[in-house]
Symmetry: C2
Subunit: 123 residues, 2 copies
DNA sequence: TTGACACATGTCGATTCCGGCATATATTGG
DNA sequence: CCAATATATGCCGGAATCGACATGTGTCAA
């Protein structure tokens, strides 16, 4: 007897739909890049990149759900355009690291200044 | 006859090891955040965050492989520290969209003006 | 109205990814 | 040498992800 009583894998933290994850996929970044020049229909993106139409549509869906892209219907086409303001989370996150880096540089700077001071005392 | 000749799924673009993918995982970002205050041993990160030690070690490995983190041996511990310079690809990529954002600044400006208008209405 | 076009969505198989557990490796202390 | 500590790594199962196909949905044109 004594069934192994395996606990096994646990549900992951989900959050499958944030900006960080969205830009984690290279093809998704290509789609975004294709939209930098301006509003485009799905077919135009398919032509520009070398991806299938369903593939592009699905990536657009993900990008839309995280707000990086907006859609507008025009006749039987759907025109997508960037919404760069929704890159803010990424931007803020990056800013943290720049701040951390600068703070540490400041500390190093203070440390060097103190070193100089001690050197002056020694002389 | 005529065997179905199923083509099926194709190897994905791999690239499982770039900066974009590395920061795509929320836990990995937590590990990075834990290092903002400075160099830390693995155990300290495990204590700070609520993650198992192997989990932290594995995430650190990914982060190290993309250069976001560096390791230094000290006795039987390994001290990890940020390497913010390797966030450059992200930074450059974002810069592209800032340009797109600037091109659309007029719209943001209009939005802010509308916000001000609503604030005025509320007061 | 019917067919063609543009796009979205559902399904499936394969692959990747992630976390839990167990274990290996290296360093220190007794 | 041996035990304890600190960390890395291997293995496994489950779940998420991705792309290829097939199909559904809405819109225009004749």
């Amino acid at each position: 007897m004594s069934i192994p009583a395996y606990i096994g894998a646990v549900a992951r933290s989900s959050t499958t739909s944030d900006v960080f994850n969205a830009i984690g996929d290279a093809h998704r970044r290509e789609v975004l890049d294709a939209l930098i020049s301006g509003e485009k229909a799905v077919g135009a993106i398919v032509d520009d990149l070398s991806m299938s139409q369903p593939q592009v549509s699905k990536h657009l869906r993900v990008l839309r759900e995280v707000g990086l892209v907006r859609c507008r219907k025009e006749g039987r086409r759907r025109l997508y355009r960037l919404e760069p303001a929704h890159l803010e989370p990424l931007h803020e996150w990056l800013a943290n690291y720049e701040r951390a880096l600068n703070d540490r540089l400041d500390r190093v700077d203070g440390y060097l200044k103190e070193l100089q001071r001690h050197q002056g005392e020694l002389q």
